[in-house]
Assembly symmetry: C2
Homo-oligomer: 476 residues x 2
Amino acid sequence: MKNIILCLSTTLLATCLILPVCLQSQATQLAEQKNKQAELNLDDTKIIKQFFDEALTTRETYDLLDHLCNKIGHRLSGSEGAAKAVEWTAKVMTEYGFDKVYKQDVMVPNWKRGEKEVARIVGGTKTNLTVLALGMSVATPGEGLTAEVVEVQALEDLESLGEEKIKGRIVFYNRAADQRHIQTGAAYGGAVDQRSAGPSMAAKYGAVGVVIRSVGTAFDDVPHTGVTSYKDGIPKIPAAALGFQSADLLTEALKKNPNTKLFLKMSCQTLEDAPSHNVIGELTGSEFPDEIITIGGHLDSWDVGHGAHDDGAGCMQSIQVLRLFQKLGIKPKRTIRAVMFMNEENGTRGGKKYAELAEKNKENHLIALESDAGAFTPRGFGVTADDSTIDKFRSWLPYFNQNTISYIKKGGGGVDIGPLHRTLGTPTIGFIPDSQRMFDLHHSPSDVFSTVHPRELELGTASIASLIYFIDKYGL
Amino acid sequence: MKNIILCLSTTLLATCLILPVCLQSQATQLAEQKNKQAELNLDDTKIIKQFFDEALTTRETYDLLDHLCNKIGHRLSGSEGAAKAVEWTAKVMTEYGFDKVYKQDVMVPNWKRGEKEVARIVGGTKTNLTVLALGMSVATPGEGLTAEVVEVQALEDLESLGEEKIKGRIVFYNRAADQRHIQTGAAYGGAVDQRSAGPSMAAKYGAVGVVIRSVGTAFDDVPHTGVTSYKDGIPKIPAAALGFQSADLLTEALKKNPNTKLFLKMSCQTLEDAPSHNVIGELTGSEFPDEIITIGGHLDSWDVGHGAHDDGAGCMQSIQVLRLFQKLGIKPKRTIRAVMFMNEENGTRGGKKYAELAEKNKENHLIALESDAGAFTPRGFGVTADDSTIDKFRSWLPYFNQNTISYIKKGGGGVDIGPLHRTLGTPTIGFIPDSQRMFDLHHSPSDVFSTVHPRELELGTASIASLIYFIDKYGL
């Protein structure tokens, strides 16, 4: 174990005002961590290595993801792909011989994109733009919609423009994600309000449609979809995302001619809610079968690409964590569940149903982990739990190669396990892979299997298995 | 600076036998680090952020690498590409207005691959295999070479087989890189003896040729070249690398028929040594101009693909570190040099010449850093220096976002700065990016610009600039 680093949070330092006392306490913690490490070394070091060896050599997560992406494909809630993925993941876990495999019924939104969307700059060269309707968007009139375009950088711009300049027009939200963020999730988070809240905000001022610059980090022309949320009491107007370069074309056209018109045609529909399922596989705990550790991803995806990183990867990793325990002959003390949540993308119905049933059945949930940030090389975990739990997790860092998990940060979870946290107070963990490439692909036709690197994906599986192993063995 | 972690090496812990004393000393160090951080925060935090902001938004490293790869291409020592790259990098640094830009003359080996190589399983379906001659290999006879094949897993197998079973045959080294290593450099290092020493070892037992399973980590059929070293006094025999899947085909053929013959045709030549250059750009130090900090990569590459990761990236990063200082108006105290070393791949003549001239000119080299491990997302630095220097470097870790540089490990450098270390005792640093994808591409036609991610590349530039900034400001 050369080059191990031991990590202490500066938060700890910052909260200590009387240095000598504080440092003694840190010293004690260091000593405790060191002693603990010495205790654990014999068995645990060996098992952690086995997790990584097995994942890197058999690449079973990668093989499963290959099947999910290339044989089933994308899996929007209510679609045929989603239904196939439910049956297939249940079959995979049954064939592995997990102790229990079952489904939870859940009704999900049933939105259909319809025919391929059209966005075209009217007049001049009649430039076609790359476009994807936003998820849950309404359609344009059947013959399409033509209107002048008003370009803004932020939701707040609408107020100063007022109804006079917006009414009857298409609002074009054109603020790009801020590339200065080192974590691209923050870049995404800083721009996504245009997609989620933009359409209803524009409709409030009388806009007839919305287009946005795709919320992504690549300078290509692939549009990125994603859900929009219409506000009650405000007319629903059609909303779509343009490719990055298409957004450039539109803004250039508007500079030349502020009266530039855009033609938009979309035939999306929201049908009646459809029946679907969460899929659950379980290894039953040998000592504390009632203490449940949940590991999950979401099985649904957008209806473009393969949903490989978002979130086929997280689902296949969750199954493979249990599979690694099984293959190495490790009988968990607690019950470990792999959960394929349904409908993260446009409703979180699966996550809500899971929490609802956990409460109803008086289940005892120790902790829940979600992997939904891509199949990239591991960097850390984010943990929403007591400080003492976070300290305990940090004491396990020396077991990880520093090129896999190098930190445990305070705060983390996932969309699907949020309801469990809110309902039962269950602590949550988010797996944090490297973020640099995620938002090049996210919600777009580019999120396909060929962009997944087998070793990066498998390092994720083994990293999650390692943390779950420690939690199962030593508790929180 | 949320979620900062402070890191202490366990080496430090392990060497302390009397715990209370040791822990007090650690406590003191923690306090010192904390105080130092408090002192630095105002200026340094701001400047580190500027390095990252500037790199991530202007992407100048990426633009330079685009030119090097797509306008110049691969750059084997002695080739037209190498000569063009020398002129172009000198021009780039001159146009940037660096304080000094100059070349160092160096004679380099001049090996030519010749016509496209042929490797074919004789008889049956006459299967063509993907193949690349190893660098510095001799040619086969003009009409090619046909011989039976003896497959081995390791150099040591030859001794037990003996001359009887090897003489007149082609030796096939078939040991794959071990995927269990988390750092793929270790997987590569554990298999590369077959390429470097294998041919001469086989010739010693009378083999007429050598083929190896390419030393790489991808399960594709792209062959990976790389230098082989013939031993004096042993006949030089032709040697080539097969694609991974081609190696599978050959081993299957041998299982069916142990007398399977292989046809091999290569027309490589080693010409007279050719004149070439190291290219150097300098920002002259304002306080200690005689103290030199070297940052380098190697400008030569193999004669396939673009040499994008190996090592166009390291060269462009080196130039851009100086460029970032220049753009932010930071006048270094010490002299900082960006060095494009020539001939790392098959001779290290540039690295040797640089050290030779440093000694001859009585230069004072403070430290040297090399980036030659790919354009991937940053993970750490490896440092060959006194423990006190390493501790000092670790005290700067809190300034790095934990998703960039998360550790400083003991031991590191680079092939080109090795001679400087050996000649003058100069401490060395190796930049460590994530290694998962490097050996899929390394030395192969797949090492092209399109596999470089702009943000990953630029995070490397900014990480190196940050460390160099601290070294320049605070010394070792």
